[in-house]
């Protein structure tokens, strides 16, 4: 039972961390290597919220807004000139990540920051004591996933975004303002990344480089998901399970690289990953 809960919550955390990257990759076909920096921005929003003495949950909307606003600036000034050079966009966003990391260091110092727990203690699930917060993370993943899917399926913006994902030329020809769709998508993706940063604070130490460790895993999952939300959920469950099982029964070190290796192998066999496999 503990194992199942571990798998479920690990998958949920991976999903929360990766979904912002997925949104951007799906619509813009750009890999945002500053994703880790946005996770960090979100975590520092939690730090600021705590310093100001507000309710720690308030960090969630704050991070979404701050992350989205900064994402808008990044799209306008850094991403937009590089749409035709996707590999260069990886590099430029990586450089942007360095800049953000250093700015945070200048502002807050390089030391680990402590944030108040959003929720502490354990609850008993079917006879097993389990961290309450990890269950919250599971719920958060479900809420974010459903909200995201509802946006994509139910709103005008989601419709336009899906059209751009499937066939950007046609979308343009039908009169969709694709530049605007890209901008808003990037803002939402960046906002989701910052949101994920807040949700990570009880699980990981907060310092200026905390995002980098999560970036690669998220990147691999998004590559395998190939822009599809459902495929991302499947990838998170399968790879999360592999990570937990290998860590538990073989070695934690192997577990930590399971996602990267599995993703590389899956992509070698099927370049589209889990999307329509």
């Amino acid at each position: 039972m503990l194992l199942i809960l571990d798998i479920m919550t690990t998958a949920a955390i991976l999903f929360v961390v990766a979904i912002g990257l997925l949104a951007i990759f799906g619509v813009l076909k750009i890999i945002n290597f500053a994703h880790g920096a946005w996770l960090t921005i979100g975590a520092y929003c939690a730090v600021v919220t705590a310093q100001l003495g507000f309710n720690p949950w308030l960090a969630l909307p704050l991070a979404f807004l701050v992350g989205g606003a900064l994402g808008g600036l990044a799209e306008l000034f850094i991403i937009r000139p590089l749409y035709r050079r996707p590999l260069d966009a990886i590099l430029a966003t990586w450089g942007l990540g360095i800049v953000i990391g250093q700015l945070i260091t200048l502002g807050f110092g390089r030391d680990v920051q402590f944030t108040p727990n959003l929720l502490s203690g354990t609850v008993t699930v079917l006879g097993t004591d389990y961290s309450a917060y990890r269950l919250v993370a599971l719920a958060a993943a479900l809420v974010i996933g459903v909200a995201f899917a509802a946006t994509m399926e139910g709103t005008r913006l989601g419709l336009s975004a899906r059209a751009v994902i499937m066939n950007e030329t046609l979308a343009r020809g039908l009169g969709i303002d694709t530049a605007r769709v890209r901008l808003i998508t990037f803002m939402i993706g960046a906002g989701l990344a910052a949101l994920a940063g807040v949700l990570l604070t009880p699980l990981t130490s907060v310092d200026p480089t905390m995002g980098v460790g999560w970036l690669i895993g998220a990147f691999m999952l998004v590559m395998v998901a190939n822009g599809s939300l459902l495929a991302l959920a499947i990838a998170c469950l399968l790879f999360g399970a592999a990570q937990v099982l290998i860590s538990t029964f073989v070695s934690p070190i192997l577990g930590s690289i399971a996602i990267a290796i599995l993703a590389a192998l899956v992509l070698r066999v099927s370049p589209k990953g889990f999307a329509r496999a």
């Binding site: 899906r162 059209a163 030329t169 046609l170 020809g173 039908l174 009169g175 530049a179």
Partner: protein, 244 residues
């Protein structure tokens, strides 16, 4: 619909004017100085063999390919430099030829994409159901599951969704059965009668073009090679431009 109702707003009839238009891809100019006038409510067929610049001409009008020379105006307003989204807002509808549908989207979503706001959706849907009743019961179905002919009708229905004043249609008859081609011809003629829409029709199907259009023009190597009225006795003359 009376003759008076046809021209609801005089001077807003989708008149299209191309003057010495040059455009192309990369180092290549495909359209090399095309001048063409389509009057309000007129249907003109742009004919010609493959690679002669017909589709490029349409995409240039839509702003999907940059104009390298010349001028384009709709209802005497220059549309040069306008993004495709602005053209749609001006009432220019487009039925593309290559990858014309979102195959993995529902029919309903494909139709929705043609209009800017969901508030117009019910009325717009009703108007295209009048032409293509089969769409009504199959709105939730993916576009990719339709037959070839049904897909073509969906493409046309989508272009009609925004009640265009100018309609640009790219080889809508390609690979279709004669019965479907007849259906499409009657829809176009009906819509023109009803709304006074102006239509530029890129075609390879000569018989269809002569049936629907008022005038024809043949594009050869990026220039208008020949033009004339769309009358049955013009068939031989046009065919010489198109066949082996």
């Amino acid at each position: 619909m009376t003759e008076a109702a046809r021209r609801l707003e005089p001077g807003m009839g989708g008149e299209l004017e191309l003057r010495d238009v040059v455009s192309g891809y990369g180092a290549i100019s495909v359209v090399k100085g095309v001048s063409l006038h389509v009057g309000p409510g007129e249907i003109v067929a742009l004919l010609g063999k493959n690679g002669m610049g017909k589709t490029t001409t349409l995409k240039t009008i839509l702003g999907m390919i940059g104009l390298r020379g010349g001028a384009i105006s709709v209802d005497s307003v220059s549309v040069v430099g306008l993004a495709p989204s602005k053209l749609a807002a001006l009432g220019v509808g487009y039925a593309p030829q290559e990858q014309p549908l979102f195959q993995d989207m529902s029919i309903r979503d494909n139709l929705r994409l043609a209009i800017a706001s969901d508030r117009q959706l019910p009325a717009a849907l009703e108007s295209v159901f009048g032409y293509f009743p089969f769409l009504k019961d199959r709105l939730a179905q993916h576009a990719g599951t339709l037959s070839g002919g049904e897909q073509k009708m969906l493409i046309l229905a989508r272009a009609l969704m925004l009640r265009p004043r100018l309609l640009l249609i790219d080889e809508i008859t390609e690979g279709l059965q004669p019965s479907v081609i007849d259906k499409i011809a009657s829809v176009l003629l009906n819509e023109r009668k009803k709304s006074g829409v102006t239509i530029l029709l890129v075609e390879q199907n000569l018989d269809f073009a002569l049936k629907v259009a008022d005038r024809w023009a043949v594009l050869k190597l990026g220039q208008i090679d020949d033009e004339g009225p769309a009358e049955p006795n013009e068939r031989e003359r046009v065919l010489r431009h198109l066949s082996v």
